[in-house]
């Protein structure tokens, strides 16, 4: 067992290292900005005095590595500095929005993960039947659609008739049921996009194994097709399925940007797009760091879980 823990510790260390390098990249990217950041923000007409004052305010007169350390130490403690656009602390801007984004992602995940695993298993079980072909063609189309297309079609069909609101305005006072109702369309959009992907991968992971001799063995032992799939194929397909689920969860958290914009949902993605438009660098950096951290964390979890799902690694010789 100790070999497993060493492996997990190694992965964790590697994850932390990756995150560190990413933070350097995100911070360093603004250093690549052509010209002077202060001048860039204030515009060409600014007087040298205002520029100098602004530089001091941003700490631009300090050397880059000092600024990086300050930024990173602050970020670790939840202090991301202040927004250039409205001078408010970034932490305040992010706090409720992060919650909203996570809520939407979890909402979509709660529907899509069970749904896609079930559809994937069924498609593998009834492979090459009409059900499988239809599910596949639909999934393929759904993957191919841009998210805003799916979103606007849903608005056109469901919001037009007044069934659901086309704008998902929520605030901390909105009740839980009301929030679920208002965010149904964005959650459905996300669900449609990720379910297709996860279903296809689940199906492929299982079908990949169906040619293995041990599956043939199970069939020759007289096992039912359902048992062959669930008891013999699925446990061996766990690693790729876990990976694809994690990938899609990560996608749900980071890929909500477009959906949040379409439905005017107050999440992190919308904040990021707004800040990009305003060239509000500290906010963009902070949000990018949070997204990257979530992404790394999920991939790390998937990595560890799929290692744990492999009996060859857990039960050594």
């Amino acid at each position: 067992m100790s070999a497993i823990w060493t492996m997990i510790a190694k992965r964790l260390g590697l994850g932390l290292l990756t995150l560190f390098v990413i933070s350097v990249l995100i911070f360093g990217a603004t250093e690549l900005l052509p010209g002077d950041l202060a001048k860039n923000i204030l515009g060409q007409s600014a007087t040298p005095e205002t520029v100098a004052a602004f530089r001091r305010e941003l700490g631009l007169d300090l050397p880059a590595h000092t600024r990086y350390l300050n930024w990173l130490l602050g970020a670790v403690q939840g202090d991301f500095g202040t927004s250039l656009a409205n001078k408010r602390p970034i932490a305040d801007l992010i706090a409720t929005r992060l919650g909203n984004t996570l809520f939407l992602a979890l909402y979509a995940a709660a529907i899509s993960i069970p749904l896609s695993l079930m559809l994937g298993v069924l498609a593998a079980l009834y492979r090459n039947t009409i059900f499988d072909r239809t599910a596949n063609a639909l999934a393929l189309s759904s993957i191919s659609f841009p998210e805003f297309f799916v979103a606007y079609i849903l608005i056109f069909i469901l919001a037009q008739s007044g069934l659901f609101p086309s704008m998902s305005r929520v605030d901390p006072d909105t009740g839980f049921a009301e929030t679920l109702y208002r965010t149904f369309l964005p959650a459905l959009t996300l669900t449609l996009v990720v379910t297709a992907h996860m279903m296809r991968m689940t199906r492929a992971a299982i079908i990949n194994l169906l040619a293995s001799p041990y599956i043939e063995m199970a069939r020759l032992k007289g096992m039912t097709p359902m048992r062959v799939i669930l008891h013999h194929a699925l446990p061996n397909a766990l690693a790729p399925i876990i990976t694809v689920v994690a990938l899609n969860l990560a996608y749900l958290i980071t890929g909500v940007v477009v959906v949040e914009v379409v439905f005017v949902y107050p999440g992190l993605g919308q904040l990021m797009v707004d800040s990009v438009a305003k060239r509000d660098f500290p906010v963009v950096q902070a949000v990018a760091l949070i997204f990257a951290a979530a992404y790394v964390l999920l991939n790390l979890t998937a990595d560890v879980l799929s290692t744990l799902s492999n009996p060859r690694l857990i039960h050594r010789k």
């Binding site: 001799p213 007289g222 013999h232 039960h315």
Partner: protein, 546 residues
């Protein structure tokens, strides 16, 4: 051998036709074969690859692989028409009354479940035993299959158990519901000869103990001679002949069967050992390995001009690693390799083009040794172009000569892709590619082990002829002692990275032997149907004495 002619018939297959799909069309795999099996009888099905042995064996369970279909005939298992029965009815028979033992136990056990869970699955799912009964029964059968630690071994995962033990555990699993019939599909082909003996003995005993009928599929005549009461010979989906084992061995009727029997007797005249002169290749006290482990431990041997040195050993003995050291793919930790008396750079990247040219290699799997996207013209022509600087017409002439040397018609073959050749032809191309470099020395790495016997014999004869024609020195890596017997001048026996014995072939096949060589030699099945019984008795006697 038991007389089963009085027993009731268990399985009848009449005029079986099975088709396989390739692209859009169906082509026949089995073309009207009959088969009758009585209770408790063991029928050996033999034939070369593509004969349809496995397909026929699976059809006895009413099963076809994806892309195959039974297109005609009747299968009657103990009064049940398997072709008319529903899938549910067939499923109820499989595992319960008809069981299957696959070729590779390592691949046929589910890696995610313990052995005992897989043992219990069929009896529990078919409603014969409770889980606890099945587990108790498993221990009992593991004991009967002479598995070590029968109480514990079931609680291991497949990857924690060795190949020979897994194969016995699979036979035990097939027995779990005490079926009337077991289909054994090449159960020992993937095993080393010394392991094979134990598995064969265990299978034979358990089948006899429970009076189970069996279809035993194999390509190895000597193996089938030990196991079967009757033998049926198949060739390309057709039956050649069928007779009881002794009759079939002593008096085969058909020419094809006779030719199969005759392959084993091919041997070339032994050449006298070379005692003088500089050897072409000389391996001097080489120790090598990957990571921390040494795979080769202080080995030395010489290979002389016009001589074939067979390096023999089971899997893991280090025989292929020795080849990698000579070719420079694995630089040794200690020792060196001499070519014509001069040391070769340890790493192939440091060797000169001429040094690379002098030592060529022929691989086991011609499929992976030939780039599937290149035509024969380029495959064979490239070494000639690179090393000898041949261009244009001269190059084409040389390629045509080489094709003639390996007995392929140049006009027909020069522009083909490897996928348009048979297995034996591909291996010939491998030989032509080696010859194109005009080398002094060729390493043949298990070159015949993936081929059918008749085809393999052709390759051996060709290599033999080329050796005398071009004064070549061969290093012949093999696990098959029959191959050693037919082509070697000298033999090097390896075990666990060490050379346990070496010398001229006539001496090696005469006692006294090193104990491992003895074990290896005695484990090779012989065509005599009493061989296994005799061998087991002898070993028992020896063990008793010791």
């Amino acid at each position: 051998m038991k007389d089963t002619t009085e027993k009731p018939v268990l399985l009848t297959m009449r005029d079986i036709h099975i088709d396989g799909r390739s692209e859009e069309t169906w082509s026949p795999i089995i073309k009207g074969v009959d088969l009758t099996l009585r209770k408790g009888e063991v029928l050996g099905l033999i034939g070369e690859s593509g004969a349809g042995k496995s397909t026929l064996g699976l059809a006895a369970m009413g099963f076809t692989r994806d892309g195959c279909r039974i297109s005609g005939g009747m299968i009657d298992f103990d009064g049940i028409d398997l072709r008319k029965a529903s899938e549910t009815e067939r499923r109820a028979l499989r595992g319960k009354r008809i069981a299957y033992v696959a070729q590779s136990a390592a691949a046929s056990f589910n890696p995610a479940h313990k052995l005992i869970d897989q043992y219990s699955e069929a009896p529990v799912q078919h409603g014969i035993m409770s889980r606890a009964e099945a587990e108790r029964d498993a221990v009992e059968l593991y004991r009967r299959m002479r598995l070590p630690h029968p109480e514990e071994i079931g609680f291991r995962y497949p990857h924690q158990v060795s190949g020979g033990q897994l194969q016995r555990a699979m036979t035990a699993m097939a027995m779990s519901c005490r079926p009337d019939l077991i289909v054994f599909d090449e159960p020992t082909t993937a095993l080393d000869v010394t392991t094979q003996i134990e598995v064969l003995a265990a299978i034979r005993d358990i089948v006899a103990q429970f009076d189970t009928a069996a279809i035993y599929i194999t390509h190895d005549l000597a193996v089938v001679a030990q196991m079967a009461d009757r033998i049926k010979v198949l060739l390309r989906g057709d039956e050649v002949e069928e007779a009881d084992t002794r009759t079939m061995l002593s008096a085969p009727k058909e020419d094809y069967t006779k030719s199969l029997w005759a392959v084993r007797s091919y041997a070339r005249p032994v050449q006298p050992p070379v005692t003088e002169g500089i050897p072409v290749v000389s391996v001097e006290t080489v120790t090598a390995g990957y990571g921390a482990a040494d795979i080769l431990k202080n080995i030395s041997f010489d290979i002389h001009k016009r001589r074939t040195v067979a390096v023999v050993g089971e899997s893991g003995s280090g025989k292929s690693t020795a080849a990698r050291v000579i070719t420079g793919l694995l630089p040794p930790r200690q020792g060196r390799v001499l070519f014509d008396g001069a040391p070769l750079p340890a790493d192939y990247r440091q060797r000169s083009r001429d040094q690379l040219r002098q030592a060529q290699m022929i691989y086991q799997m011609a499929d992976t040794a030939l780039n599937p996207k290149l035509r024969l013209r380029e495959l064979i022509g490239r070494p000639a172009q690179m090393y000898l600087g041949l261009q244009g017409k001269a190059l084409t002439e040389r390629i045509r000569d080489l094709l003639r040397l390996i007995e392929l018609e140049p006009d027909t073959y020069i522009d083909r892709l490897p996928s348009e050749l048979s297995g034996g032809q591909k291996q010939r191309i491998g030989i032509a590619r080696a010859l194109a470099a005009e080398p002094k020395f060729i390493i043949c790495d298990e070159v015949t082990s993936a081929l059918d016997q008749l085809v393999a014999e052709g390759i051996l004869k060709l290599l033999d002829r080329l050796q005398s024609e071009f004064d070549l020195a061969y290093m012949f890596i093999t696990h098959d002692l029959a191959t050693v017997r037919s082509i070697a001048d000298e033999v090097v026996v390896m075990q666990n990275g060490r050379v346990v014995e070496q010398g001229p072939k006539p001496e090696m096949f005469q006692p006294p032997h090193d104990p491992y060589t003895e074990l290896l030699l005695s484990s090779v099945p012989e065509m005599d149907p009493d061989w296994l019984t005799r061998l087991l008795k002898e070993r028992e006697k020896k063990a008793g004495k010791g």
